[in-house]
Symmetry: C2
Subunit: 452 residues, 2 copies
């Protein structure tokens, strides 16, 4: 079996989730707890985040059970009692999940998902839940910046070869499509999520032929309708003239050359030279595709310098979120047996209670401010963002999958103020803490300080 086919949700966790569960079990501690997932700090190069990961998480939640092999492995560690292992074997998730729909734009301290369940269940989900949401939010938020900079040009995810592992590869394709990429080169993601796939040839293809022109013609004969010729294996300008010959050959057969791709060199200069060559021979409609170490910063520079680009392949730097490769994501216990709980930690704020976010818009329909408050605060009239998706362990609301989320994101994004879309935003969006939440937090902190 392939190594990743052996991955089990219940074991994709930190040992301490299981030791804590064992201790809760021994103490007979089965009270209901609420855990909340949120981002504490915003990297200076992010003006907003995009919610993603819920579909993957629900997929895992439905399969969250300890197999006989998982139980055997835990037994082999020599730490757990047989009655606890039997308890695990029977365990199924029985709780409630409230979450931001995928594609929601959100900000630090706003809950992304809240789990309310017997404490052992909420605790056991922690590590895997964080892993899933972290990568998908990280990439959706990064890729959205690329879409902004591209100003309507098509973007294609080319990151598979250098994402961190194969799970990230698929998640990156999905998350970038969620925020408006045209598609991906990644076939597995294409198959799993019905994302359009793109791609034609690599340098090695050109190099394997005696002459570059042989490679171009071999490709055009195999895929006349979808040929995109890679021009920079030897000399981009000479290759552009060969592309004209291919375009002519195709035209004689009533077919249009789809595009050419530039993957190295001075893309500003080369894109114009290539465009001129194509245009001067009457092939103005051949798309110019650019790739090679591109991200939102580089693409912004290229376009500001007047590069002529129709379609962009975005790879490694987006696929690993190179300028901010991790987020300060936290999953915290906020309520136990109906009582708010709080960690007192110097320098880090932690907010008690199950929560809701209400969004307010200005008269132009743009996002104005959010109110972050307790889930039971009935005084707010804004748009509530968290919705219930699981109750009693069962999915109660079908969110409609990737394409619905993609449209939802586009609608949201059109209402995000322009200054928050900047590559280096100069202000933070206004998130107001509701009075009931503030008061509850203060009371809880005082009680804790006087007692511990």
């Amino acid at each position: 079996m392939i190594h990743w086919h052996q991955y089990e949700p219940v074991l994709l966790t930190d040992l301490y989730e299981i030791t804590m569960a064992a201790s809760y079990f021994r103490e007979g501690k089965g009270g209901e707890a609420t855990f909340s997932l949120y981002i504490r700090d915003c990297p200076s190069v992010r003006g907003y985040f995009v919610a993603a990961g819920l579909e993957s998480f629900l997929n895992v939640l439905e399969n969250f059970r300890f197999s006989p092999e998982a139980i055997d492995y835990l037994r082999s560690l020599g730490r757990f009692s047989e009655d606890f292992l039997e308890f695990l074997r029977r365990l199924r998730f029985s709780g409630t999940v409230r979450a931001l729909p995928e594609g929601t734009i959100f900000f630090p301290y706003e809950p992304i998902i809240e789990i309310t369940a017997p404490i052992i269940e909420g605790q056991l989900l922690e590590s895997l839940l964080m892993n899933i949401f972290h990568i998908e939010i990280l990439i959706a938020s990064k890729a959205s910046r690329c879409v902004e900079v591209a100003k309507g040009r098509g973007l294609v995810d080319f990151s598979l070869r250098r994402t961190h592992g194969v799970d990230a590869a698929v998640k990156v394709a999905r998350s970038s499509y969620l925020v408006g990429f045209l598609g991906t080169s990644n076939l597995m993601a294409g198959k799993l999520y019905d994302i359009p796939v793109f791609g034609t040839m690599a340098h090695s293809f050109v190099m394997s032929f005696e002459h570059e022109m042989d490679a171009f013609m071999a490709y055009a004969k195999t895929f006349p309708e979808t040929t995109v010729l890679l021009l920079d294996t030897y000399d981009t300008i000479r290759a552009a003239h060969k592309a004209v010959e291919v375009a002519r050959w195709l035209k004689e057969r009533g077919i249009k050359l789809k595009g050419v791709r530039l993957d190295s060199g001075d893309l500003v200069e080369l894109s114009h030279q290539v465009k001129d060559i194509l245009r001067s021979h009457g092939f103005d409609d051949v798309a110019i595709m650019a790739s090679g170490s591109l991200d939102e910063y580089r693409l912004h520079e290229l376009l500001a310098s007047g590069a002529y680009i129709d379609v962009v392949g975005i790879g490694t730097k987006m696929g690993v979120s190179a300028d901010a490769p991790y987020l300060d994501l936290a999953y915290k216990l906020v309520e136990y047996e109906g009582k708010p709980v709080l960690k007192l930690s110097p320098g880090k704020r932690s907010l008690v209670s199950p929560k809701q976010v209400f969004r307010y818009y200005d008269k132009n329909g743009l996002m104005d401010y959010d109110v972050l408050t307790t889930s039971w605060d009935s005084s707010e009239r804004g748009e509530p963002l968290l919705i219930e998706v699981v109750r009693g362990g069962r999915i109660v609301r079908d969110l409609g999958g990737l394409k619905v989320a993609r449209r939802y994101f586009q609608e949201q994004y059109s209402r995000l103020p322009e200054d928050l879309k900047e590559l280096e935003p100069t202000r933070s969006y206004n998130v107001v803490i509701g009075r009931p939440l503030l008061e509850l937090e203060e009371r809880t902190a005082q009680a804790k300080r006087s007692q511990s």
Copy 2:
């Protein structure tokens, strides 16, 4: 089915690998090709790299076949002929693989793995092969720096919650163990690779009890032999006094408190205060564990400032290789049908031919320099580093798995010059290009320039 259980090796690829294969197939182009994987540029904060990924890759290679579902998906794209799809359905890897054993220390431009096979086979492997080696080398090379800085203190991988996806989580645990970590918190990695697992309690555990002391005692009763108390939920110093009480309670039962953990605050100051409290009550042998945003830079600072730490939990920053989250890894065609091939790309060097690396040691047994040359150069007397692991599509050499690789790395690392182990190395290791390779490269480049 869980999404990652549906991942298939043959579809974890870029579309262009398949379109190129289709064009080769149509042209009847089945000649033997050699592809070489290497790192072009070394980030300034890496003095060396550690080979890793071979076991995962061979595991995938053994399972590299197009399932009926994969063929159906390709057919649905509407681009591929039925005879090509039938060819893919029957395709098995039939070639030769030469590689650096896992744990080998290597440098830019040295081949990590070379595939010699009919060109379609070598090409189809590209994307997934790169993905696998990239993450494992990235993390092994990063984690090795943490081990260096720790100067013999135990390190544990705590990165699961923020690695990029679940595949990365398991690979990070494996790669960090390969270079000398004590173990991981990640149970899936523990089970798959027989890596020791560590972990005790989170803040949420402490917070779920009315009193901190109740949480400590509940844990100590469940796991008396392996208790590590987390001290910083409310007030670290007060918690240290409670830890003394727990240590006393355990001592009355003939058991030693294993450790305490500090996860926030001024770790230099707090570690000494906590150590003093434990020592003054006769519990000098309780280990002090530190965690929380640690990597080799922060750990170096802490230890230089005199922090008292026995064991270290290393998380996110190692798990995403935050200071260098990707490597300039390339997989290039270097020979086709016995002839060297070369890409002429401004600013990027590319080396022709199947190759071998010969390592030379100085009189103290330390690594002195490497010679990178053609695979058929018989003039070198150094230690050859690449070995044949697959022939005719079958694994012909069992490399012995993770523990053998771990010992091999330790042996290698003891022979690496000290200045290359620095956090910011001031020199590069000397890799000499052998004369036969230089001459071949020059001849090939000339021929290509005159022709294309």
